[in-house]
């Protein structure tokens, strides 16, 4: 991960190998977010220059997609499926429990940056609902008690 806003050189080192791919902007944004954990504002002008696009066009792409974020992720990132199959197995109750337990509403991060809570619309685990993801690891048939265990494990990680 970059410690600060990455320099032009750091960004170029990441994206130059991808320049030969047709339509490379999304591929580059993924590479940047994988490396940095987010899409820092400093990459926008560099990408615009390199791809001969306006800054607005690059910003427009970044903001269109729910996956790309403009600030570093929380230490524990919780994504709860809110779609129909999970609702059919009382996903709303699980979601309410998660909100209550983390003291966060969906879309919020805790003030100290330790936990963030996000909705996700289907993880494709609909035959084992309700499902959620914590720090990229998927969990199915999650009960409120199971969520508390998983959260404790995630928070205990160094």
């Amino acid at each position: 991960m970059f410690d600060t806003q990455p320099s032009r050189e750091e960004i170029l080192a990441l994206i130059t190998p991808l320049k030969d791919q047709p339509g490379p902007l999304l591929v580059m944004l993924h590479a940047i977010q994988t490396q940095a954990g987010y899409v820092p504002a400093s990459v926008i002008p560099v990408l615009a220059d390199e791809l001969n696009l306006s800054r607005a066009e690059v910003q427009g792409v970044v903001s269109f997609y729910h996956h790309f974020r403009d600030r570093p992720p929380a230490r524990v990132r919780i994504e709860v499926c809110r779609a129909e199959s999970c609702q059919a197995l009382h996903g709303d109750r699980l979601a309410a429990h998660v909100e209550q337990r983390t003291q966060l509403r969906f879309g919020e991060s805790s003030a100290d940056g330790s936990v963030s809570l996000h909705p996700v619309y289907c993880l494709g685990l609909c035959s084992a609902s309700p499902a959620l993801m914590i720090d990229g690891a998927v969990h199915a048939r999650v009960t409120p008690e199971r969520f508390d265990e998983l959260l404790a494990q995630a928070e205990a990680k160094p």
């Binding site: 490379p24 591929v27 792409v61 269109f64």
Partner: protein
């Protein structure tokens, strides 16, 4: 003593139930006990309530145990599961399990059976036979076989695959593309994911055959970012296919060339719409394109492009190998072949059922699904994802095929069925449909962008009992505008779940709803 093969799925649904922990524990215990095991990470058989489902290769065939937790592993060793011995979690020979035995697995024949990233196992189970056939067949004849098979697009639109391919074949262009739509965003669907995680070579083979058929040398798999497990499996499988000469330059020594890249989506549901997916593949905002021109004529980077769903492309190798007639013989009416149906939501036995078209909803929900998981009566199902209509229990005798469902105002979509018990509040589900559309709208057309937000507000007023009759008329009007005025299916189909909920469950939209959960 040779190592005993033990199968522990790497499918995301099994991993989400701690299959990785179980596999690690089996390995650890085997080392401790000094017994040799070969742990194979297979796909899932689709019996999700039994995951993690562990299988042992015994002389009598594959015997299964499940659901296995890490705490059960020591006990399984002590009971002698490596020799297929009985245990509290025994399920017997997995092939004989009633859920599987009655299925007609064509596209999912290898899923859960083989190591998904082993070319040798894929070949041993009839893999690349369709490609071998295609390499000896002219493009026109490949297209003819696919047309004659009756295969229709499994992504939801159900357009005849052969006709789409014929259009692309007939275009003269310096470059053509095969774009596989793996942006499986519909809630209640997971067949694409299971196929990619359980038998990725079949998709690779299908895309390669499509390339040969239309004269394309490059394919893209547009995969949703919510599927990291599928991403890893595809990466391993593509590398293995290239290494063994089944992909890339000079495929199987034929001189033909075809290659595939995986491109990740970024959490936009709309990118499952084909023109929006093409925009996203080109690195832009996933905004819908106005048709015409059709992607088959002017698609990716302005070139003729076959856009097909994962299951559609994965159905092709068997059609080339076994012939159009073998596939065509299966099915009902104009819906030919098999359909991998995904049973989801409030069902006791949710999972994947592949059968020829022709089953009724009741057979699927009760004979396979085992009724509700909660033990309460089923009240409604939603078929075909968040844009699909709700079907009430009184219509559960409907046959699940394209024409019959559209006859009752529903649609099959990608074959996902989400079941709800009698605690469901259908007004709330209708409101959710509009809210989801508002969340995911690309914003290009007004009926979808604005209509969805207004729809949420109008439903709120109806449920609150505010000017009820006027607001019901307004909702109806709004739905008509969205259906007829939207550029694509997102705005154009969001009214289906809303209007079906209102039609069949009007009592839920009253301020004093009888629904148990309120």
């Amino acid at each position: 003593m040779s190592a005993v093969s033990v199968y522990v799925p790497r499918d995301a649904s099994a991993v989400a139930l701690d299959a990785d922990g179980v596999a690690a524990e089996i390995g650890r215990q085997a080392r401790e006990r000094g017994v040799a095991v070969r742990i194979v990470r297979n796909g899932s058989r689709g019996l999700s309530w039994l995951e993690p489902l562990v299988e042992v290769a015994s002389p009598e065939g594959r015997v299964a145990y499940g659901p296995v937790g890490t705490a059960d592993v020591a006990n399984l060793f002590e009971a002698g599961f490596l020799a297929g011995a009985p245990h509290r979690l025994s399920l017997g020979p997995i092939d004989q399990h009633p859920y599987l035995k009655s299925q007609q697995r064509v596209t999912f024949a290898r899923v859960g059976v083989i190591d998904p990233v082993s070319v040798a196992e894929y070949v041993a189970y009839d893999g690349f036979q369709g490609l071998r056939e295609a390499l000896q067949t002219s493009p026109v004849d490949i297209v003819r076989v696919v047309t004659e098979s009756g295969l229709r697009g499994r992504g939801g639109a159900a357009f005849p695959t052969g006709i789409k391919w014929k259009t692309v074949l007939e275009q003269a262009a310096p470059q053509k593309y095969i774009a596989c739509n793996a942006d499986e965003g519909d809630s209640g669907t997971f067949a694409d994911r299971m196929l990619m995680e359980g038998d990725p070579f079949q998709l690779i083979e299908g895309m390669t055959i499509a390339g040969l058929a239309v004269g394309a040398t490059q394919g893209y798999i547009y995969l949703r970012v919510e599927y990291p497990h599928a991403h890893r499996v595809l990466g391993e499988a593509l590398a293995a296919a290239r290494r063994t000469g089944f992909l890339g330059q000079n495929i199987m020594g034929s001189g033909a060339h075809f290659d595939i890249d995986v491109r990740l989506g970024a959490g936009a549901y709309i990118c499952g719409e084909e023109t929006s997916m093409l925009e996203s593949l080109e690195g832009r905002r996933g905004e819908v394109r106005v048709r015409p021109p059709l992607p088959a004529i002017k698609g990716l980077f302005g070139m003729p492009t076959v856009v097909n769903n994962v299951i559609t492309l994965a159905s092709v190798p068997a059609i080339l190998h076994k012939g159009a007639e073998a596939y065509r013989q299966l099915g009902s009416g104009k819906s030919r072949g098999t359909l991998p149906i995904q049973l989801a939501g409030n069902l006791k036995h949710a999972g994947l059922v592949e059968r020829a078209f022709g089953l009724t909803l009741r057979e699927l929900l009760y004979d396979y699904g085992g009724g509700s998981a909660s033990g309460r009566p089923l009240r409604a199902v939603q078929i075909g994802g968040p844009l699909g209509a709700y079907v009430p229990a009184s219509q559960f005798d409907t046959v699940v095929d394209y024409e019959t469902l559209s006859g009752i105002g529903a649609l099959l979509g990608h074959g996902g069925i989400v079941a709800f018990d009698d605690t469901v509040d259908m007004a709330r589900m209708a409101r959710y449909a509009m809210a989801f559309c508002a969340h995911e709208s690309c914003g290009k057309c007004t009926p979808c962008r604005i209509g969805s937000t207004r729809g949420v507000e109008v439903i709120d007023r109806i449920v609150a009992g505010t000017d009820r009759e006027q607001n019901l008329a307004l909702l109806n009007d709004l739905c008509e505008t969205m259906v007829h005025g939207s550029l694509c299916g997102l705005g154009g189909m969001t009214p289906f779940p809303v209007q079906s909920a209102l039609k069949y469950f009007p009592e839920d939209f009253l301020p004093q709803s009888p629904v148990a959960s309120r």
